[in-house]
Subunit: 387 residues, 2 copies
């Protein structure tokens, strides 16, 4: 299935123009303007996979080569197949992550404390996940909350048994828990954690939850949007926050989740990426198949912000304030109908932590610190259904 | 799994007081006031299953035996384990369905035209389902709509291949398509159908869609709430509309579905059953495990009606107007806090037909006529997960 999925990914996203020599490895034999797929490039230069190709260049509207910053590159290491209008792409390197990293190497580094920063861009194409670990008496309700709300809470895996932090049960069809993450320690493999007591944040961005995780805890891994962001970038629709090395803006909403047991008053958290109105159908098409990582948007347009109960788009509840590709502020009514940038909203993996907070659960509940995910062994193409 | 599920169902729902002799078969050896489970009764008298026991009696608050009307009985053929306050339970028989009916016998009768009425109460404990059949180009989007919105659109099965009306692919874990319905004809096994053209209703309550179903149609079967209504009745929480032989009230809402492809502007349809505020947690507990048939409610209380955009609770968009157990009208503010009847809302299987209407799909789309379901071979306990 992996090979099939990988082939589909290559066929769909990876075709691009290779215009200039890559930085860091010699690709001087690649003829300028010749169309390659990145899979062909990988094969040609002996990389095991396209993620291993260190850096590429893309063309702008005026055919001036623009180097993709490494932050963006490590998120989306695939050539773009169309001209893009991204004036501020020359950004300093924001990550020290090696493109030779794997999910396992990041996990092991986090476990020893050697890796303690955000995982945006770490080990490209390896799926990342959010965490909720809670006392076992709440596990059935939380599992049901995910099943009833698969868009904001796409459940990838959970502790194989109560108390287990070292072995997973998979909820991804056709993939085993061992394949999701073989060598795993849910107590240490996230670079940073949050701890809630009675629904209130008790510890923020702590390194170690080994003393908090008890034999009664059940850990749940929830899909995150990094996978589809890379796919958008690969199609020339680079989310603005990626291009500028910022966090995606996230908002609390008034949209209710379908209740499940103790989680009876939960509401969606959404992430937002501005796109031109004319690009929305393409954005929907690209993200639709990422069913395990929030999939296509749940709403779009200025009226959607109102319907979701978002009062001020410039003031997200989490992450950085929204900007456009040129770095300017997102405001309503700029440009004509089709060209205007409008907010596009996705279900967000912060939703489960909000649900825990809103339910004011007794006992310690552990979450990841926003942006500090676990990096798994499975790849983006393993979670895109072949049908 | 069936036996395990059945055992769980018996253990959970079926324990009751058998007070008087059943009508139609001799149960004179059953000692009055002795506590039995209905499974024990079935075993004792040689019935294959509890649904085959023709009639039972329950106790009221004053220990006066009340015979459950056959309409209700065929919906909920299980003894009640607590006193109920249902003054108007003596209702005339509303169905001619034999309690020896099976899912297959109802399907075959519908196929020949011998059965052409509503299926409420037909072949108790056999799971019933809603229908959407649409041109294959919309099938992937519709399947995704169900996957993204499993509470209003719980997908049980679909055509095994494009055009197939005689064989199913199962979406119920651990159950095959053949087990869901062995001898099946999706074009004729519903007593009545609706046909939409370009999102507009073209035919209402028609008997035959054999000439409309094409080689390009894909049929989808969606779970319906009859299963959990029987479970509520078995616990003494008889939905008022059942007690009075009426249809459940259903309402269009402003609550958006998570979009999926062409289904980008869909909204929930909800069914509503009034319950006392003090009973809501019990209602939630009983219905929670029915994950394939809408599960626990999505909202409750008078403020929920407002949040859902329901302007007048007395005027449902489908079904009959809501009443209380005593036959009176449901109005706000009657009784003290805990005793007051308030509206409780569930996801409703009419939602997919509304989605088709709202998407204005080209070409003929076929749905069932409200209340005129297909009756399957699987039983209520086959769709309740054992965990």
């Amino acid at each position: 299935m992996s090979n099939q999925g990988k082939a589909a990914l290559c066929g769909r996203h990876a075709q691009g123009k290779i215009l200039t020599e890559s930085v860091g490895v010699s690709v001087s034999n690649v003829e300028k303007e010749q169309r390659f797929t990145m899979c062909q490039v990988a094969d040609h230069y002996g990389f095991d996979n396209i993620a291993d190709i260190p850096r590429i260049s893309i063309t702008r509207a005026a055919d001036v080569p623009v180097v993709i910053p490494s932050t963006l590159f490590t998120m989306a290491p695939i050539a773009l197949d169309q001209a893009v209008d991204q004036p501020n792409l020359h950004k300093p390197t924001k990550t020290e992550s090696s493109t030779r990293d794997t999910g396992e190497s990041i996990r092991l580094a986090a476990r020893t404390g050697a890796y303690d920063k955000q995982t945006s861009g770490a080990a490209p194409t390896y799926v990342q996940a959010n965490l909720i670990a809670l006392p076992s008496r709440f596990a059935a309700d939380f599992r049901l909350l995910c099943k009833r709300n698969p868009v904001p809470c796409p459940l990838l895996a959970e502790s194989k048994e109560v108390g287990r932090w070292d072995e997973l049960k998979s909820w991804v069809p056709g993939v085993t828990g061992k394949e999701i993450a073989g060598d795993v320690d849910l107590r240490h493999d996230f670079p940073k954690y949050m701890v809630y007591e009675d629904g209130k944040l008790a510890q923020s961005h702590c390194r170690d939850v080994g003393s908090i995780w008890s034999e009664d805890h059940v850990g749940f891994l929830i899909g995150c949007s990094f996978s589809f962001e890379a796919a958008l970038a690969a199609e020339g629709l680079i989310p603005s926050h990626m291009a500028h090395g910022r966090n995606v803006p996230m908002y609390r909403t008034t949209l209710p989740l379908c209740p499940a047991g103790v989680f009876s008053q939960s509401t969606y958290v959404v992430s937002m990426r501005p796109f031109r109105r004319r690009d929305i159908e393409k954005v929907r098409d690209i993200t639709r198949s990422y069913v395990a990582t929030h999939g296509e948007p749940i709403a779009w347009g200025w009226d959607a912000a109102t319907r979701l109960g978002i009062k001020d788009i410039s003031k997200p509840d989490f992450g950085d304030s929204p900007i456009l590709p040129d770095g300017s502020v997102l405001v309503q009514g700029v440009g004509d109908e089709a060209e205007e940038f409008v907010p596009v909203f996705w279900g967000c993996g912060v939703t489960p932590q909000e649900a825990v907070r809103q339910a004011a659960l007794d006992g310690p509940v552990i979450g990841h610190a926003p942006g500090h995910m676990i990096v798994l062994d499975i790849r983006d193409w393993d979670i895109v259904p072949s049908t």
